[in-house]
Symmetry: C2
Subunit: 658 residues, 2 copies
């Protein structure tokens, strides 16, 4: 039975939840396929996550391997293939709690970087799991700056082998997933040396464990890097190489080859490598970043209509905490952001697909824009969603702090997304570099990519809003965001030029502007997200209340951003203080409007109870019963040796009854 | 040997680290005593935290009990007493990783709320650990709003007993520390009923476990609430009471008594109860909030001068990451905040001591101000420091995400401080209520407490700064902070009045202002923190460079606050856009100045390697060696059953060597 405090929230929905779910999925047929995958996975006890919060790191790893192996069987059984429509829903249905994810990266890197011959040899073996692959790039002392990697691969013409070494402790490979305990092979990135000359970073296939007994191969030292904030299921590993010899054929040679005599040959363009990073950054947004925020919103909002605390009106019963303005102000902007980023993700996917088609036609023109957008949005979305999950956690008070709420593990996992696949600050600076370049080009009247043409149109007007309702007009707020993005970019470009003209060296000048460059990059992405949300709403069907509620969310997303960054909008007087007061009034009004549909809006995300894995967030809202039942199963409710060892001797002299 | 990249940072300190440590400790004699306690604790293997990151929740609990029991012996051995000068350093030296902390709260509540007879009976038993106490207030469905607690205590005149019940699942006691597995007794807060009439919440001593065999007493259901985000060492518990009978004498009766015939007698003032909460909120700031931020700064800053990544100047070696402006902008404001909050903590302690003396003379006049300041600063400091620790964690990239960095557990622990002892938003609203009341009083010409007299002096001037150096004048920035606090308070007071005058009911009007009330409360605390830092610097001795470096930190703290909240200062034109650009320039300049002393400034916190328990933060900066050595000891480097069960069957068909 559904908690009546939750049930009542669903009766007053202003829109069709099922229609909104279909919109999010990209059509009702997609919804049907997704639900079938979820049902198949969740009804299979091997994939259960029931005891997850009670398990040790070792137990989590073992379960992840068990699931990965079972998944092969399951896919065969269900007739799911890697190219089928079900495939993309499997990982989400498993909540990512599965091993051998790096095995896929291993395969992808061979497919992309390997010669036809290499692909023919390795891909079938990997597909059949006759080996387990990993991907060893990051080192103890080196991450983002690939040129700094210290691992070496020296070509020995006499034996036609590469000799691999990690010459210093900082050169040790560190972090690669699946490498700590599982992998038999890995792709090692190393500085290639031929006849004493360094040719830079190249990829090499290296066997690290025996296929007979899994013992480490000669010259290999490897193991697990130990406990992390999350990812207990993944065996992130370390790897030391000492004079490890591999055949010449093991250097991935689609783009570069070493001939038997040591001649180095570079063939084809390496630009495609940047495209691979772009792919990864875009692909992680949906499963690794948006899904956790959507889950956190679902948990926190359902809990906030079930939890009653203090009285809002004297004489009445205690109020649902979602009726407090401060609680609305914590949660509803996160909900709006989840929708905003869902739509920007669609935009990025489309752009990416277009870019991919162009690249296949050997046209690389879109690459810089794609790189800038994927870098900037990876940073902005991971940052925003991580903060959002944390807000949801805190908004649930003490119960949010219990692992059983599901919120701590959502938080500790999403946090990693700010760090992996490019540290966020560095990514934002890449976007900023693109912005500055385009701004200079646009100022000089040169053509620039579509997403930055607005930089050319610097206007010195004022915001035309006359009352608080004007701020519910997408034109008004989109223009305000655009103005801020242009101002921050142009001001920073000017500061940079001033510094250089005053004699500061270029790299020093750049460093002295980086705090402001990061602001400009964020403002650019924020502007595009707002604009895209508004344009998406415009195109929605007006039926079933969908467009109306999406418009409210779009307004909230935009006004929350202004309310939280008032200085950026006030700075040059584009927005006046009186207008800022209108923004505040409209923003606070909107909270009240969206609060009425808050539960239907999270229901539309369509998470099952098993996928939420939360005592606070279940569909029926029976929070207290579930917390109690679940806590009783905790291993901490078994007898502890502490009683016999320490408590009994302490207490044994006391009277039996005081 | 010290990593040369770290060693060089210490050679150029602009001040005496030892003198600054003494300043932080409150004198060199205090430093001596603290170091002696730390030495005694850290040299004792029973107190070791070496394997902490590898332990399960059960193992952590057992270790915490072992340490608590051993601590009694140690104190005796060392001649440390609860009233001695060493006492306050013990908890810090243990990093809080010890059981029976609620036993102390049990004792304190009896001392404060119990009659002389009750104190005489229970305190000696508790002191000798002949029982283990806990404190059962929070319920599954009720936290902050004490009047909503559902547990009942019905007086039975026939047997002269109270009959205790948790009538619904939401009435179950939930969260009390030491109660899940250890406690034999607890203080239960329950609604008192006599002859069918409710007299509100009262405290009762209830035995929950046998002193003979630790089995649960009749009518008691109790256990551990399971895994949490941190606090694995604490057995937070649940408690169900079913017709549990306790003698009339077990109601703590200093302020209220039930006579044998059922007559209810209230005696003395209960105002002192609020003072108890004030005490707790102030006392937690130092150990639970400031220490973790100081540790996080130490770890992140030392790491940032050892880690080199990318090139700042072409042709040079990779740069220390602390040389990047963006890294400075992440870490140095946190360092400044740690100092700012250390000094405001001293201020609050002094105010509290003064209040305590007044209360002993039956003068309760200072209570409202003390309550407002302790609530507001508890919220502001926990919030700021939690965010600060998270920034430190992220600033260390991947390695910050490893538990071995120490940062994840600092973060997950400090986060709880935002929730316990009063949820932060609710506390800020209590401060805001005080501010609004005082503002109205001040506007009407009535006297108000010292910390809010500034509210009376509303000035409509403009910031007089003429160039960026003017913003290094404490008068200039303190005045700006004051102006913002007054504006936010007076504007919100006006909105509140307008709403009420337009016919909105008082409680609705209040709710509609809460988002802005929270802003006003934060601005008030921020202003006081800046003012106090500036006044503290003013009084410092000018010798040994201490005053100079503290002045820089004070400036940075103040300007960072303006830079991060530009809108608040720009809104009514008090600060102009041109002045805001001066703030930005001065702020960015300061980063460069403080960067030079960053390592000495964290060295002054004087944490030992054992207390940091971090592979990244050790005094010698041998980061990579330590990460590697430590990871090898992880239980994840033992053989996993996953190999025999899943990997071997998968791989056994493969060729032995590819």
């Amino acid at each position: 039975s559904v908690n009546p405090d939750l049930a009542s929230e669903r009766q007053t929905a202003s829109f069709s939840v099922e229609k909104l779910t279909a919109l999010l999925d990209g059509g009702s047929e997609q919804t049907r396929i997704r639900r079938a995958v979820v049902e198949a996975i969740e009804s299979d006890p091997v994939f259960s996550r029931e005891n997850q919060y009670f398990q040790t790191q070792n137990e989590r790893y073992e379960a992840a391997v068990r699931k990965a192996v079972h998944l092969q069987k399951k896919m065969h059984e269900m007739g799911w293939t890697e190219n089928g429509p079900e495939y993309k829903y499997i990982y989400r249905a498993l909540s990512g709690d599965v091993a051998f994810l790096l095995h896929r990266v291993f395969m992808r890197s061979i497919s992309v970087l390997g010669s036809d011959k290499q692909i023919a040899k390795w891909i079938p073996l990997a597909t059949q799991h006759k080996l387990i692959g990993s991907y060893a790039q990051t080192e103890l002392g080196h991450g983002t700056y690939l040129q700094g990697l210290e691992t070496t691969a020296v070509f020995d013409t006499a034996t036609q082998e590469f000799i691999l070494n990690t010459p210093k402790i900082s050169a040790m490979k560190w972090w690669p997933g699946d490498m700590g305990r599982s992998a038999t092979h890995t792709v090692v990135f190393a500085q290639l040396y031929i006849h004493g000359k360094c040719y830079g970073i190249h990829p090499f296939i290296v066997q690290i464990r025996s296929l007979q007994d899994h013992s480490l191969c000669p010259g290999i030292t490897a193991g697990d890097i130990g406990p992390k904030m999350n990812f207990e299921h993944t065996d992130n590993g370390y790897l030391l190489l000492k004079n490890v010899r591999i055949p010449r054929e093991n250097m991935l040679s689609k783009f570069c080859e070493v001939r038997p005599d040591g001649t180095y040959v570079r063939q084809g363009s390496q630009q495609i490598n940047y495209f691979t990073m772009t792919t990864v950054r875009i692909s992680l947004i949906s499963d690794e970043v948006l899904t956790p925020l959507m889950k956190a919103c679902t948990i926190a909002i359902r809990y906030s209509v079930v939890r009653r605390q203090s009285k809002l009106k004297p004489g009445e019963q205690e109020a649902k905490i979602l009726d407090y303005q401060t609680q609305q102000e914590k949660l509803l902007p996160q909900l709006a952001a989840a929708y905003a980023f869902h739509f920007i993700n669609n935009y990025l996917q489309e752009l990416f697909n277009r870019g991919y088609r162009e690249i296949q036609r050997k046209n690389f023109d879109m690459l810089p824009e794609l790189h800038a957008l994927s870098s900037g949005f990876k940073a902005v979305i991971t940052q925003h969603c991580t903060a959002g999950v944390e807000i949801c956690l805190r908004a649930c008070g003490g119960h949010g702090y219990s692992l059983l709420s599901g919120l701590p593990s959502l938080y500790t996992k999403i946090l990693a997304s700010c760090i992996y696949e490019g540290e966020n600050t560095i990514l934002l600076l890449q976007t900023a570099r693109f912005l500055i370049k385009c701004f200079m080009a646009a100022s000089a009247g040169q053509p620039v990519p579509p997403s930055v043409t607005y930089l050319a149109a610097v206007k010195h007007g004022k915001c035309p809003a006359k009352n608080k309702l004007d701020f519910l007009s997408p034109d008004i707020y989109t223009e305000a965001y655009q103005h801020v993005a242009v101002r921050l970019t142009s001001n920073t470009a000017a500061k940079l030029q001033d510094l250089i003209q005053s004699g500061v060296k270029k790299h020093d000048a750049w460093n002295q502007c980086t705090v402001q460059l990061v602001q400009a990059a964020k403002a650019h992405c924020h502007y595009i997200a707002v604009k895209n949300f508004a344009e998406t709403v415009e195109k929605l069907e007006t039926k079933a209340g969908i467009q109306k509620i999406m418009k409210h969310l779009c307004d909230l997303f935009a006004l929350h951003g202004i309310f939280s960054n008032t200085g950026a909008f006030l700075h040059d007087g584009y927005t006046s203080a009186a207008q800022m007061d209108m923004v505040t009034a409209s923003y606070l009004d909107l909270l009240d409007v969206i609060r009425k549909d808050a539960v239907p809006l999270v229901d539309a995300f369509d998470f099952t109870d098993k996928s939420l894995n939360s005592a606070l967030g279940s569909y029926d809202g029976q929070v207290y019963q579930r917390l109690y039942e679940w806590a009783q199963k905790s291993p901490t409710n078994q007898m502890s040796p502490a009683y016999e060892r320490y408590l009994k001797p302490l207490l044994h002299n006391t009277l039996s009854k005081l």
